[in-house]
């Protein structure tokens, strides 16, 4: 099978490996390009496609490449080799001889001829061991046809025979250019299924596919996995059951497992009957429209909520356009999607529209239309909500001129708009023309010394007050202090009486005033003392002799008046002066 060499340095081989297999087993169709150079290492140019004219009835899949390089030195002469292998898995549907004819392909600008290769496929014997494809295979439940944009859940199932020990999944690939596909979940659901009398562990992954192109679209998945196959020597079941040593004699290999080649007929959505409100929703949906209030004021917003619930491609549902409505101003809605935890295609999508009324009165919010394509009936469905009526009161913020008198509105008179209410947009362009001095934004008082000074002063005033009150309370509890306080009050009253022009009253008051003043001075009760007792106190406190003499004279005159019983006025002025002098001295 060695081909003729187009260029002396490049040779092409083709072969099946193994060249003889049983029905259902996989053989590898290998195209090998070998380059030899004695001066430089050849550079491998990757070959991505092979123009194979006919597969000869074989199913070819999973093309891949492999390359290697080597250097030989024989008697000092160097020789560099590079080998590129293009490997394609081949499966025959029945027994027989299958040939892939020779073909020509381009490599490094040269035309190379790949020779023909033949695969011999024999019938499987009744007691033959199962093939790898029977022990491990991959399946999907993809539908035959879909519409562009139609989100569909599928399940990818990996069947692993119970006789196979799976060591791990190494890689996951997909061939699905015409679809968007959700990521493969990290965790799979594991179940047990019986199929064709064989027991399988089934690993399932839920996926969501959405076609993005019309036509026949490939949808193929591939796993690379490591598994320990059962030892063929033990293929016959032991009458004693499976031995724990079986695992030690099995072989662990890497396998590429594929789904059967699948094509889905993806159709375009029909243009006929497509409503204007259609934005790409495909599935089965319901719609609910509510307003957060049935009354508001001019300039105060209300929210119109549109809830779309059901099952389908929520990611393609766009907010329905709101038509411009007289008396309302609205903004782009905010969207939120509450997805069903058990089914990602189910949920509720909500659009909140903010509407601001511009005029008072009973205003209708616009009717909302939402349409979707129902793939079951293969028709468009349009849902329309009735217009909601909102009672709008005049704004509290707006500047309203005085209401005109009632008689101005005469039926025959032309209607003149006397009241013009500013809408929020007009207000937002109206400047303030009077720059009144506003409040001073002072620095934080908590960080100023002034504030702390105030509070320290508060503490001092409180402390001083408490101290003063405490002292006062202590004094009041002291009997000497109480005596002095009583005597002082009595002295005041006595001096008041001493202002009398009646001689008896004056002299009596003067005597008593001297006693009381002396009591205050010496802090000893002398309110009933005679002059001798007072004199001794005068001398003790160091009063002058003239003061003592004056006092004695005053007491003598007072006694004379008192005991004589005369009350006629005498020259009191001298006595008053004497009394003043004595009291000052005391």
């Amino acid at each position: 099978m060695v081909t003729a060499i187009l260029q002396a340095e490049i040779r092409v081989h083709t072969r099946f490996e193994p060249p003889r297999v049983a029905v259902g087993s996989t053989s590898k169709y290998i195209v090998e390009i070998v380059e030899t150079d004695n001066s430089n290492k050849p550079i491998v140019e990757p070959v991505t496609t092979l123009p194979i004219p006919s597969t000869g009835g074989l199913n070819l899949r999973n093309g891949r490449t492999s390359s290697s390089q080597s250097t030989k030195i024989i008697n000092g002469a160097r020789s560099y080799n590079s080998t590129q292998q293009l490997i394609i898995d081949a499966v025959a549907p029945e027994s027989g001889s299958f040939s892939i004819p020779e073909f020509i392909f381009e490599y490094k600008g040269a035309r190379l001829q790949a020779p023909a290769a033949t695969l011999e496929v024999v019938a499987r014997s009744a007691d033959a061991a199962p093939t790898i494809d029977e022990l491990i295979f991959l399946k999907t439940d993809a539908p035959d046809q879909l519409y562009v944009g139609e989100t569909t859940p599928i399940t990818l199932k990996l069947y692993v025979s119970s006789t196979v020990q799976m060591r791990g999944l190494n890689a996951f690939e997909r061939t699905a250019d015409g679809f968007t596909i959700s990521d493969l979940p990290e965790e799979s659901n594991e179940t047990i299924e019986m199929l064709n009398g064989r027991r399988y562990r089934v690993y399932s992954w839920p996926l969501i596919i959405t076609p993005i192109s019309s036509g026949q679209q490939d949808l193929n998945f591939q796993f690379t996995l490591s598994a320990q196959m059962p030892d063929q020597r033990n293929a016959t079941p032991s009458p004693f059951g499976q031995s724990i040593f079986d695992n030690f004699f099995g072989r662990t290999e890497r396998f590429n497992i594929y789904t059967e080649p699948t094509q889905i007929n993806v159709r375009r959505l029909p243009a006929e009957g497509r409503p204007d409100s259609f934005s790409g929703a495909i599935g089965m949906f319901n719609m609910q429209v509510t307003a957060d209030s049935d009354s508001t004021r001019v300039g105060e917003p209300i929210m119109l909520s549109l809830k779309v619930s059901g099952q389908g491609n929520f990611d393609r549902i766009k907010s329905p356009d709101m038509p411009a409505t007289s008396g309302w101003r609205n903004y782009e809605p905010e969207a939120a999607f509450d997805q069903d935890s058990s089914n990602p295609r189910k949920g509720v999508k909500r659009f909140d529209y903010v509407f601001i009324p511009e005029n008072p009165g009973a205003l209708d919010l616009p009717a909302v239309s939402f349409s979707f394509f129902d793939p079951k009936i293969q028709e468009y469905v349009e849902l329309t909500s009735p217009a909601l009526t909102i009672q709008v009161a005049p704004s509290e913020h707006l500047i309203t001129p005085l209401t005109p008198p009632q008689q101005a509105t005469v039926e025959t008179a032309p209607v003149i708009q006397l009241i013009k209410q500013l809408n929020p947009e007009e207000m937002l362009v109206t400047l303030d023309y009077r720059p009144r001095k506003g409040r001073v934004i002072e620095p934080d008082l908590l960080r100023s010394t002034w504030f702390y000074t105030l509070n320290i002063a508060g503490i001092l005033v409180l402390g001083a007050s408490i101290f003063w009150c405490y002292r006062r309370k202590c004094d009041q509890e002291n009997p000497d202090f109480a005596l002095i306080q009583t005597v002082k009050q009595a002295l005041k009253a006595t001096l008041k009486q001493a202002e009398s022009n009646d001689a008896v009253t004056f002299f009596h008051s003067a005597q008593q005033a001297i006693r009381l003043a002396t009591t205050v001075r010496v802090k000893c009760d002398l309110r009933t003392a005679n002059f001798e007792q007072l004199e001794s106190q005068f001398q003790r406190i160091g009063l002058t002799e003239s003061i003592i003499t004056d006092a004695r004279q005053l007491f003598d005159v007072a006694d004379a008046h008192r005991f004589s019983g005369r009350s006629e006025s005498t020259d009191l002025q001298i006595a008053r002066n004497q009394l003043t002098t004595i009291l000052k001295a005391l």
Binding site: I356, D432, R436, G438, D444, V461, S465
Partner: protein, 242 residues
């Protein structure tokens, strides 16, 4: 007599000064009315630098709105509200602009409006005087052993009420002053540390209010209305009071 004359003179001078409008303010109004918003913006800014008034801040906000900077407009309207907290017109416009850029109106609660009826410092002074007076009226009768009269009891009650009003009001006002808004017109990232390379810890929306928790170099640590917490660059966040 001379003292009274001086006070009267000072009153007239300050009144006349308050009534006199800044030339930049008038020029700003003129430019705004001629749709020369760039010029108006420069002139209102100059007017604020000369003499900050609520009207100048408000007019600068409307100018920024015309220039397509709603986030800056919100900041200046917030500042105008601090200068004139009882101006319902400013409040309405602030709420309208906030709604325009997708924020909630953020209308103040009644207690916030009540706390703004007096400046923060006045509330603090009332609180200080009330607390010392209350302590005085409570402790002195106890110390002196005098049974408090009805006057003293009434005064105690009044000081207690004043204290209970002043403390939360001062706290509310201080919280308002220790805040700011995002001045970028797009949502900005909050970071877990005061560095742009730090991991993102949240999003602050354009014009969103945020309370300042801390500051470090060129970053503020903030808590937004949406309760996102993180560090934000001073380039895109401006406090109401520097």
């Amino acid at each position: 007599m001379s003292t009274y004359l001086r006070i009267l003179l000072l009153y007239f001078v300050t009144t006349i000064a308050a009534l006199a409008t800044s030339p930049a303010f008038e020029a700003g109004i003129e430019s705004y009315q001629n749709n020369e918003y760039d010029t108006a913006q420069a002139q209102f800014t100059s007017a604020i630098e000369d003499d900050e008034t609520a009207a100048a801040q408000h007019n600068l906000a409307l100018t920024y709105l015309q220039l397509g900077s709603p986030a800056l407009a919100i900041w200046h309207l917030e500042r105008a509200q601090l200068l004139a907290p009882l101006n319902a017109d400013y409040r309405f416009k602030l709420e309208a602009v906030r709604q325009q850029i997708g924020l909630f109106a953020g209308a103040p609660e009644w207690y916030t409006l009540a706390s703004q009826s007096l400046p923060t410092n006045v509330w603090l002074i009332i609180a200080s005087i009330s607390i010392w007076l209350f302590l005085l009226l409570w402790m002195l009768p106890s110390i002196t052993g005098i049974k408090p009269s009805i006057k003293i009891k009434s005064l105690r009650f009044l000081t207690l009420i004043a204290l209970l009003l002043a403390l939360p009001s001062a706290w509310l006002n201080l919280r308002m002053i220790e805040a700011g808004t995002v001045i970028a017109n797009e949502s900005v990232s909050l970071h877990a540390a005061p560095a742009s390379a730090a991991p993102e810890s949240g999003i602050a929306r354009a014009g969103e209010r945020a309370r300042i928790i801390d500051t470090y170099k060129h970053f503020y640590e903030v808590e937004t209305e949406g309760l996102a917490t993180g560090w934000i660059s001073k380039d895109v966040f401006r406090p109401f009071v520097d």
